[in-house]
Amino acid sequence: MSGSVLRLDDATWDRVDELTGGAASVCFQCGTCTATCPWGRFDGEPLSVRRLMRRAQLGLDGDDDADELYRCLTCRACEAGCPRGVDIVDAMLGLRQAAFAEGRAPGRLEQALWGVYEDSNPWDGVTSERGDWLDDVPDDVDVQVGGEADVLYYVGCAPSYDPALREVPVAIVRLLDAAGVDFAVLGNDEVCCGDVVKQAGEPDFFAELAESNAAQFTATGATTIVTSSPHCAETFAADYGLDAEVVHYTELLANLVEAGDLELGTLDRSVTFHDPCYLARGAGVIDAPRRLLEAAGVELREMAEHGARTLCCGGGGGNMWLESELDERFADRRATQAEATSADALLTACPYCVQNLRDGTKKVGADLPVDDLAVLLVEALEAADGGAR
């Protein structure tokens, strides 16, 4: 209780209403979102989304509120339970725009944004080295860089620049190739999807990015855009206004397997699968990775929180660039859960998740390799070919 009087200001209210697409007004303050927020399970201080919205409506939001806003993982765990159907993540991003405009965004996120502005990626990578992963592609796999194709494979920043992730695009192009897909990649011309810009709360630069990227995509004539990361996929699907269909690679590959275009061999092992929240909740893709695992003959051992109930790795909503001071981080908890399944490996299908979960397993000392699903699928592909390729 502040003791002071909050005077409702129509302009502030209207702005929040506009920024949140009306979401803040429809909320009837039941607190389901607060109690759902995974933050509450780690430090006992969940994000009170309903409170943030109401405070913003009354112009009460200050620096503490901004810290709260940027803590949001945008994992959509809260949306799943919202009885009023409030698009909470959109509302949060709207509130972040207000905070950004007032200079209340965290510095590190601003830095990442400047990285995108200057080098087309938030990881301090050099533009001319973006396509270096192509060097790792086996010679017998032909990858078209630029030009027109049915399918455009958008690699993304993290897999392009993180050496530990470069095996992912390599695996995906091998799989696309094996399935006989007519596809292309953009190589060094690929530019950040802008997710981090959007998460920071800078709408104008993001709009610029989206426009130029969309034009580039359209020029390829691709009817399908496939991504390594569910974050890129969501950004394209939600904000780019593309005619092309945007899919995550697991969806595309699962369909190819089902159509008989992609034949996988059987691997004798057990895995557990961490559903990326942008994939499982954001895009509602839960079955596709499991269908692929089944096709690869792998035994799947589910963690307690899986599918739509998945627990975020801690990287969403720009949190890859923010420090968490928790004793136990999301990924640590997840690593422990994964270890409890006694599976041979922990798989996922998102670059952020791979990065965070590798940290997590290390930290908790879990003897569990973490990989992207694509990497395992290539093994299965090889098993089918008897290693001929």
């Binding site: 209780m1 502040s2 003791g3 002071s4 009087v5 909050l6 005077r7 409702l8 129509d10 209210w13 209403d17 009306g22 007004s25 429809v26 009837f28 303050q29 039941c30 607190g31 389901t32 979102c33 607060t34 109690a35 759902t36 509450g40 006992g44 201080e45 969940p46 009170s48 309903r50 409170r51 109401r54 405070r55 409506q57 009354l58 009460l60 799943a80 339970g81 919202c82 009885p83 009023r84 159907g85 307690a304 109930r309």
Partner: protein, 1213 residues
Amino acid sequence: MSAEPETAAWTAPATHEVIDADVLVVGGGIAGIQSSLDLADAGARVVLVEKEPAIGGKMAALDKNFPTLDCSICIEAPKLSEVIQHDNIEVLTLATLEGLDGEVGQFTARVHQRPRFVSDECTRCDDCVQACPQVTENEFDEGMASRKAIYTPYEQAEPGAYVLDMDTCLNTPPNNMPCDRCVRACVPDCIDFDLTATEYAVNVSTVIASTGFDLLNPQVVEEYGYGDHPDVLTSLEYERLLDAAGPTEGHILRPSTGEAPDNVLFVLCVGSRDQRHCDYCSRVCCMYSTKQAIQTMGHGVPDVTTLYMDIRAYGKGFDAFYERARDEGAEYRRGRPAAVDTSGPSPVVRFEDTERGELVEEAFDLVVLAPAIIPSDGTEALAAVLGVELDDDGFLVSTEADGDMIGTTRPGVYAAGCATGPKDIPDSVAEASGAAAKALEHVRERTWPEPIDVPPIDPSGEERVGVVVCDCGTNIADTVDVPAVVEWAAELPDVVYAEEVMFACAGNTQDHLTEMVIEHSLNRLVVASCSPKTHGPTFEGVVARAGLNEYLLEMANIRNHDSWVHDDREAATAKAKDMVKMAVDKAAFLTPLERITQPITQRALVVGGGIAGMTAAISLAQQGNETHLVEREAELGGVLRDLHTLHPGGRDAQALLEARLAELDAAGVHVHAGAEVENVSGFIGNFAVDLSTDETLDVGAIVLATGADLADAPEAFDGVASPEVVTNLELEGRLAAGEVDAETVTFLGCVGSRDGEQGCSRYCCQSMVGQAAQLAAEGVRVNVVAKDVRTFTRAAEEAYRDAAADGVRFFRYDAEATPEEAITIADGEVVFEDRTLGETVALPSDLVVMAMGLRATDAGVEGNVAQQLKVSRDEAGFLLERHPKLGPTEASVGGVFMAGSAQSPKDVRDATDQALGAAAKAGGLLAKDTVEQEPLVAQIDAEACTGCTRCAIVCPYNAIEGSVQEVHEVIEAACMGCGTCAAECPVDAITMPGFTDEQIRAQIDAALETNPEEKVITFACNWCSYAGADQAGIEKRTYPPSARIIRTMCSGRVDADFVDYAFERGAGAVLLSGCHIGDCHYIDANTYAQKRYERKRAKLERDEGFDEERLQLEWISAAEGRKFAEKMTEMDDIVNRYLASGGAAEAVADGGSSGEPRTDGGEPHGGDGGCSSDCTCGSKAGDGRLDDASDRPTDAGAGHDWPNDAAAGGDGA
């Protein structure tokens, strides 16, 4: 209602029958039952179709009802048997409607009835069930218990015979296993596997769909863990746990461990108010969960929590009930669970307490979910058959063409109860009566059942008393050793037969009891079971069908007054024996009585010309009654005249008003506008009404639709200059005129509601949301500041969400404070503390609109119509209905009905439904030529009467004629039977049938036969204190077993002699009890009881050696179960003190407690010239009348306790 796949041969109809009737009722829950009974009582022939094997619906499975805590099946069971026994109702169970051809006035319905495989010869011996090898889940217990393939759905089920469930039975395709164990076990040979289905062609003029509801399977709300943890239950499962007849015999046990829980969490809005499942509010969950919370605490669970978003305690008495739950310790936390973790031994619930802003993660022993109410299974298919439309939620569309919720999209097809959306029992019952009224408009000819044709039993010979002692399942048998009581009763004088039964009120048991009366040539029957107030009519029917006069029945209430309130089995059994003996000894003095038949004036009066009054009047006229409508204003319409848009739905109020006025005209209603009722007298069927216009009307039925007043605006908000403050009614006018001159409008909820005795005003939240949305649509900035948003009614929750989406800004202020305490209006702002933020918020506003509560009209006005008619009022001054659940449109005074906000605040929709319901009830009465009255009319013995006039002076109804020293006479039609005259008569020349001196003395003798000094003779009036004692039982409020209750109609009946008599017989204490002063059912008859008591006490005080505290008086209302229990505890203390003081020893010395009645005038007497040796009061036992006038006391004032004014009147005469 869809039929099962018609593959098996037995489902194909082999028999075809045609039934000619008036109305088809589809669905046999409480709504269908109410419609059927109202129609049948009004002379319509009804076919009631039910898909289950028994009628009763969900209400039968409920343990208790809110907010009365009535035992649900106890109040429903009499209606079940009434339906089955009614000659005008044909009940088809296991039946589905397959087709409906024709149109209003001439429908032909095709009804398919599956065979029961058990014929009516069944004696319910249970041998077949014992023999059956097949076990399956018991649907009635929500699958928490099992049943056999041949079974009875529940003990009180009607029709009561067994039914064979072919899906479970071995002996049917596709099982094809020859099993005939049940057939071989059945001695009367009434199981027949060759029975086949029947198809009926039912010709009717109208159809009523009362198809009820189902609960959403909470598994779809995945995060709540239902189905994943045994201790997460639905509310209906929990209800069965609470029920003594349920799977745990009424013990709350955790399914996981079988142990009692330490804490229970109730979760509201499970799937309701939820975009992902049901958008709408399910309306009943807040209150039934509150009821379950109270019951849970009553079961000794210390920690009870309810999670809510808005407490929707919208109905009459609901807010007080909610308050009671909190007073008793239930914690209400505002929040909604995010998840229930089911991995551990107890479910762990995570939620935010939004008022404290804290995250809670807590383990509960039991989590009870209140799932959304959804349309009953098969509604879609039934709607297709009925040819009616469904709304987006799958409920039947009500057109609201006439302002009600009864009309569907097909003319002649009406809906009632939950078929059109969630509803509680009283709303369903009112609506069901309303649907009956609509249907009655199409009934051309009335049919009346033939009187029971059985040879009458002559009771004049030697008394042959039968005693039936009921187990009531475990309700009685768990506490009372019933076999011991039966064995003991069989040995009592005059008793020729005694028997134990499991459920005396069950339909087939009733038949058995009727046969028992005939077989054993009984001429008196004592039923030791429950309350005559709830079940008297049931057992009167039992004896009547045997040919025995129904006034030769006596009941001993060993449940409410014994097993439910005592823990000690031995003491409870001893008390039950006393109670049975009291009833048996009284029964010996019972005499047959004939009901008094009065002609009915077939003319109706409706008082109040608002929407309710107009609607009731039109319906009554359309049913064919001459109808008069009196309105004190010059114009009809009431508050409807000032309304323009009805919320929710946005209907045009003025168009509705115009339509009503035209209908009034067309129906030929006699309108008396600008007239008031000045005087009204008379009784059911025959009222005389004087209007202020000098007109006089003789009418048979009266509907009170006198509306309500807007509450007064708080002084603090009066005269505020900026912002301007207006009422919602004033705003309505400005809205219509387009004169809202404000940029920002702020609404305040609950102004004059939810304050002290005033509960929720029910209409205002939806109206407020509607007005707010209207303004927002015009570009005005709108704030709503409310306690809770109670948008419970159909489509209102959706309107609330839409209003928020359209920019209306909602805030919450302190629900425990009045608006003037919590809100400051000044300097262009509305300032308050926002509950969900914990911050003080200021809303700059140009205009403040108060959503005004409704107050009772005329409550304090002397001589108002209701008062003249002796219609009681509730604590807030609204008219009191006969029963809050099952009699919402009737007054407890015969022939008087109520509609609209006069009973409690209502919106137009609810007022219209209730008005139609009242019209059905009143119309049903007027459809007959005569009305029967209880024959409890005073009789004056002309030879004994001395013409002292005391009786005439005390009679509240001026029903005794005669002057000084002339023999008095009773005007039968005017006498209401209170018995005050009989108590007053100095020469005991007045006899009160059913409550004679000798009967009451016989009860006192029986009660005091053993250890009298340990007992408290308690006189309880029928209407308040006896009902209060019943209520103590319902609430399971334990008190010592010393009470011996003697029921009289009024406390005014209690003769001072009875007190003497009890003390002479050695009673430890005597308690007089009755209705509170002002609430007397007989105007002021209880004041005479008070005067007698005061004089008696004064005399006892002068009597040294007598502890005057042993005589007490307490006013206890029907609702005051707790007070009754507390008083009985206090009385027990007095008895114990008396015993400790040696009073008992003295009594023993006097022979008082030796088990034999004392015959001397003894101890209580003496003192100052009281009842000395010449007093007759001690010598009248078993006689009741003085033969010798010279034995009359010469100084009545000293020897007996005459009220002062009566004595003065007598002296002055």
